[in-house]
């Protein structure tokens, strides 16, 4: 079961992409940048699902009499669903970002927090 690093190259690439996306989401304050990081995280999951379905010498799972060995079609179906759902959630997140920009005038996380704190301080000082 367990081989060297070369047998797990696809897993390692997927993990590195995933961590790059995670780092963007955690370290950057800009909401659009965060969403791009989230979509990188998502594509790493595509790779994680598709790579184990590949067979050396196999072809794409479209049946033809010339071929006998096909890659596993099930992860392809799951990831097709995931791509479409991913773009729907991305659109929803961008709509939220646009609304936040209208309400606060910025899409930087720090400035939004600062604006919220200023409002709270003003309300606390009033009564």
């Amino acid at each position: 079961m367990s081989g060297g690093l070369l047998e797990h190259f696809s897993h390692i690439v997927a993990v590195l992409l995933m961590v790059a996306g995670l780092h963007v989401v955690m370290a950057r304050g800009n909401l659009i940048k965060k969403l791009v990081g989230l979509s990188i995280f998502q594509t790493s999951v595509y790779l994680l699902y598709i790579a184990p379905g590949k067979l050396i010498g196999g072809t794409a799972p479209i049946l033809a009499p010339e071929y006998a060995l096909y890659s596993n079609p099930l992860p392809h179906v799951l990831i097709l669903t995931a791509i479409v759902v991913g773009v729907a959630t991305l659109a929803l997140g961008l709509a939220l970002a646009v609304r936040i920009r209208e309400a606060y005038g910025t899409i930087e996380e720090d400035e939004i927090t600062a604006a919220d704190n200023a409002v709270q301080d003003a309300e606390g000082a009033k009564p």
Binding site: M1, S2, G3, E7, H8, F9, H11, I12, M18, V19, A20, H23, V24, M26, A27, R28, I32, L35, V36, S39, T43, Y46, I50, A51, P52, G53, K54, L55, G58, A60, P61, I62, L63, N72, P73, L74, H76, V77, I79, L80, T81, I83, V84, V85, G86, V87, A88, T89, A91, L92, L94, A95, V98, R99, R101, T106, I107, E108, D110, E111
Partner: protein
């Protein structure tokens, strides 16, 4: 090349460049998926990931500022957390079956039955999507519908105070 695109993407602060790079990254990912025999997924990734997502991001960028502010925090905490996660995940991945191992459980379970052409459609991915796992597709449609309804609910209030000329958004 993909690693390069991602590295530049993490470092760049001009959001327009970030969006163009994420489109390039999606095309590279689609190429990789073709190499892994997932042609349907590659087509969807090129159309949806590189096409629709880029258009949506550019539309949102049009409504927001295109320059990211300089980060005020030191990035060490997120960086160390990410690296620790990477270490743990790679350690876990070493226990998974090898790449392209025909004896792996994924090739033993339902896949052989899917490949027997029971529904008489030569493209197995289509057969599984529409027939064997049709309820998944129904659920996907529900999610897309909910997301569309949410976007309309979020962006509609904005149009009433102003006059109804520029309809950006979706």
């Amino acid at each position: 090349m993909m690693a390069l695109a991602v590295l530049v993407l993490v470092r760049t602060r001009n959001l327009f460049a970030v969006i163009v790079l994420s489109g390039i990254y999606s095309f590279l990912m689609a190429t990789l998926l073709v190499a892994l025999d997932a042609v349907d997924v590659a087509m969807t990734e090129a159309a949806v990931g590189a096409g629709v997502s880029t258009v949506l991001l550019l539309g949102a960028l049009h409504l927001c500022k295109s320059e990211e502010a300089k980060p005020v925090h030191r990035p060490w905490l997120p960086l160390s957390l990410s690296l620790a996660t990477a270490g743990l995940l790679i350690y876990g991945a070493l226990g998974l079956p090898d790449f392209a191992d025909p004896a792996a459980p994924i090739h033993r379970h339902v896949a052989p039955r899917y490949l027997q052409n029971e529904v008489d459609v030569p493209n197995v991915v289509t057969a599984v999507l529409a027939s064997f796992r049709g309820y998944d597709t129904l659920g996907e449609t529900t999610v897309v519908f909910t997301a569309g309804a949410g976007i309309i609910a979020l962006l509609r209030r904005r149009r009433h105070p102003r006059n109804e000329d520029g309809d950006h958004g979706k």
